[in-house]
Amino acid sequence: MTDAFSAASIAAPMIPRVARVVKRKREIEDVVTLEIEGGAFDFAPGQFNMLTAFGVGEAAISVSGDPADSARLIHTIRAVGAVSRALTELHVGEPIGLRGPFGRGWPMAEAEGRDVIVVAGGLGLAPLRPALYRLFAEREKYGRILLLFGARSPADILFRDELEAWRGRLDIEVEATVDHARGDWRGNVGVVTTLLSRAQFDAANALAMLCGPEIMMRFVANALLERGVAQERVYLSMERNMKCAIGFCGHCQFGPVFICRDGPVFPYSQLRGLIAKKEI
């Protein structure tokens, strides 16, 4: 490999293409979904893009739309720092920079023929939504499908209309819970692991997809293992400070792996020894 070839192969994925925001929807207080157009966007469920708010910076954001629709790219973004806030403040018609898609997504092929347990916490539902669209589109390929969702309060429930529509389906089981609620909430209150303890599935033939706060994923993964789900079939989507997205800069290094290149989705068997380490 020549130096010139090496430099070119690094540079290509580092150059953002310019797309345009065609729709903007405020989901909950600090979360906005952007619909982007500007070419064909093929991606696998669980992959992410690097989005640029020009003049501010770039951030790694998972795709939250339907993988079957390559004409539009959908990202759901929480305003946390300067870049993500600027992205959530983009208006329809404004340009947005985009590199990607990057990373390894959810193990859709491995899930075939199995009970699939999808556990999402807070904004973690966004990176899982493409997987859910795929699961629903190919419903006959899977056993039971369970979606267990946790949020801080009823006002913080993401994609609420869709969740309610999914709840109405007879071929999937959807349970939501919140950490606390006022008296008019008739749903579950409690941490998401309480939903898991009541869920019915074939642990010996189940595959789980988890996305949410790391501490939530840790407890859910352990609860799944206690139920008998193999650690090789419990998948977590990890989040770290991703910068280059191609495994060069080292910002997202997590022990021996780079989250951007080797993940963001990993089997728990690969992370188990790392995830509880305070130094990482």
Binding site: V80, R152, R186, I215
Partner: protein, 154 residues
Amino acid sequence: MIESIEHIVKEHRFFAGMDAGFVALVSGCAKNMRFDPGQYLFHEGDSADWFFLLRNGSVAIELRDPARGAVTVQTLHEGDLCGLSWLVPPYRWTYDARAIDLVRAIAVDAACLRRKSEADPRLGYEMMKRFMPPLVERLQAARMQMIDIYGAHD
């Protein structure tokens, strides 16, 4: 056919696998109860004279805050245990428990069970072994709720 209390207690998941003699002792302190939607099983500050094994329906565990009114911090469902304060002096409820929908439960007289546990420490130990897991589970859940895991942390 009317199910006997003893049969219901034996079949409840909380007492699954318990020795038949202990089931008989617990059942001797138990009775069937029902609560209509909105009815309270108990209120904060009241004497914790009973605990409940939920057979049907859901219960909201509430804390009352002057600014926000009743805040639900946990919901309990069929198969769950409602009420742990009967185990620890001064045996007073530290929250309200409200039936969300029609609730059918086995209510166990706490003073009766405490007396029997004092008289037979093996029963007391059996009770401790069965009550500790939900106690620890709720402590862990409370910790998770306390650190606000879903909040935006910059």
